[in-house]
């Protein structure tokens, strides 16, 4: 079942001469873990802003084509209405936390929609537990590390129980360990709660093992759209300057040397497995 469907989506920012994204047609199914990648300035963020109606309602500008999210036409619905279905987590964790305590921040969206207090309490506890930050509930945002702040941001979006979670480079302000923790949390939400995840990411090394659908963008257009193995293995994707996983690079290098692995590995674990198979095969 498609949860997001775009048809020839084209958008120009106010005052812009060329469209930032053009002719984008995508289908995203419920429960998918999508990695959206591409060089800087390729329109990833712009596309994310479309999903919850920031474009066109907040940014104005010119939007053409069709975009349907969870059976709602984005053009016809307000951001606050769409926000219940699509949660957006931004790059800079600092600028998306408003309250003076973690708990209050997680409750912010729920308070806005006017949910009864008991229900807010339940949801806040649940969201804090899901993201593993129950022990931080009384803390002020500026006392937290970047990774913790980003988990608070995820929790506060999660508390709204959205169908889709869009994360726009959530780890670019974090160290590798913090990034890995964030990916673990996101993966858990995707697998356990069946939330559709759209992850914008440069560091594919860390992200790609969770992914089942990769979209590569360049110059405002969708370049590739498909499974991670076929996409990372393709020569053209490498040429766009997307940071493909190291295991895939190893696969390519081995292929150039005339050693063919059975499958394209995504993680170093998989690569080890495949290489071992070849070694065993050679010996026998």
């Amino acid at each position: 079942m498609a949860i997001i469907e775009t048809k020839n989506l084209t958008y120009t920012y106010p005052g812009g001469t060329t469209p930032s994204i053009s002719d984008i047609s995508l289908t995203i199914k419920k429960g998918e873990f999508i990695t959206l990648t591409g060089p800087s300035g390729c329109g990833k963020t712009t596309l994310c802003r479309c999903f919850n109606g920031l474009i066109p309602h907040f940014y104005s500008g010119k939007l053409e084509g069709d975009l349907v999210v969870k059976d709602l036409r984005v053009i016809d619905h307000s951001i606050s209405n769409l926000a219940r279905h699509v949660g957006l987590v931004f790059q800079n964790p600092e600028n998306q936390l408003f309250a003076l305590s973690v708990e209050k921040d997680v409750a912010f969206g729920l308070e806005n929609v006017g949910m009864p207090r008991e229900e807010i309490r339940k949801r806040v506890d649940w969201a804090l537990q899901m993201t593993g930050i129950e022990n931080l509930r009384e803390r002020a945002p500026h006392e937290l590390s970047g990774g913790q702040q980003q988990r608070v941001a995820i929790a506060s979006v999660l508390a709204m129980q959205p169908d889709v979670m869009v994360l726009d480079e959530p780890t670019s302000f974090l160290d590798p360990l913090g990034a890995e923790k964030i990916f673990d949390v996101i993966n858990e939400l995707n697998k356990k709660l069946d939330i559709t995840v759209i992850l914008v990411e440069h560091r594919l090394d860390l992200a790609s093992k969770y992914t089942d659908h990769v979209i590569v963008m360049d110059k405002g257009k969708v370049l590739f759209d498909g499974g991670p193995r076929e996409i990372f293995a393709s020569e053209e994707v490498r040429m766009t300057g997307v940071g493909i996983p190291k295991a895939v690079m190893l696969y390519q290098a081995l292929k150039d040397e005339g050693i063919h692995l059975k499958e394209v590995p995504i993680t170093s674990k998989e690569a080890t497995q495949l290489i071992r198979e070849i070694i065993i095969h050679d010996r026998s």
Binding site: I79, A83, N95, V113, H142
Partner: protein, 262 residues
């Protein structure tokens, strides 16, 4: 400014911190009214001392002493001004009541600083905003207030970063006379302001994404309710006020020197 240092909130758990901010505000107003009612030293001294237990229960004595130290210079100025003007006014005679009067004026100021610092030291900005919200102040204003408080440390950190960056490029901040020094800060202010505008845009985006303004009837995770201690403080405030009014009307307040063996 060290006076303001003493007004900065630190999270402590104490009976005073748990009081309803509205009640604490009533108490501060009472202290204010009573302090203004009297010129004499004795009632002001009493008012000063009955507030000490609050400070001790709230365990904010260190911050409180710091704010008092900050206020001490101002207190000294008030004392000297009163002393000198009274001296000139009453015909150039030094007398004991003259000193007492000036001390009274000084203590009035100290009592005011004392009660306000108790309020701000024991009330979290979160609670304060909640109190405003429940007093039917529009939510947008309360939100602006908490967000401002929330971003103070962020902006302070950013200003430091910009200062370091500009220094690394050869900007000398501490050179020249007063006007020159003020001008030196322009290269700090401009990036700070530009960054803040950018930040506010990102904040607006994040707010929108979390259903800002979705419902006219906004709910709140917390609610303020008056409890036993709160009624105690209200009672205490009323008692203080009525005793003060009674004393003002029916009792001739003696000079403190009547009790001192001089």
């Amino acid at each position: 400014m060290s006076v303001f240092e003493g007004l900065r909130f630190r999270r402590v758990s104490s009976p005073i911190h748990k009081l309803d901010p509205r009640v604490k505000f009533v108490y501060v107003c009472t202290a204010f009214v009573v302090a203004v009612m009297f010129n004499e030293l004795i009632p002001l001294l009493i008012l000063f001392f009955i507030q000490i237990p609050f400070i001790l229960t709230a365990r904010v004595q260190r911050e409180w002493i710091r704010s008092m130290k900050g206020a001490s210079l101002l207190a000294l100025i008030i004392f000297v001004t009163n002393l000198v003007s009274r001296y000139l006014y009453t015909g150039h005679v030094w007398s004991v009541p003259l000193v007492e009067y000036s001390l009274g004026m000084t203590f009035r100021f100290i009592v005011l600083v004392e009660s306000f610092s108790i309020f701000f030291l024991t009330t979290s900005p979160d609670h304060l905003s909640l109190a405003l919200e429940q007093s039917h102040v529009p939510y947008e204003l309360c939100f602006a207030f908490t967000t401002a408080v929330r971003f103070v440390p962020v902006l302070a950190e950013e200003a430091q970063t910009i200062m370091d960056a500009q220094r690394a490029r050869g900007l000398e901040l501490d050179r020249g006379n007063f006007i020159k020094r003020v001008k030196n800060y322009i290269p700090i202010l401009i990036p700070l302001i530009v960054n803040s505008i950018r930040r506010s845009l990102q904040l607006a985006e994040a707010m929108e994404s979390r259903a800002w303004g979705a419902s006219k009837k906004r709910t709140n995770l917390y609610i303020l309710k008056l409890r036993g201690g709160d009624f105690g403080i209200i009672l205490f405030s009323l008692l203080t006020l009525s005793i003060a009014i009674y004393a003002k009307r029916y009792i001739l307040i003696p000079s403190i020197f009547a009790f001192l063996p001089i």
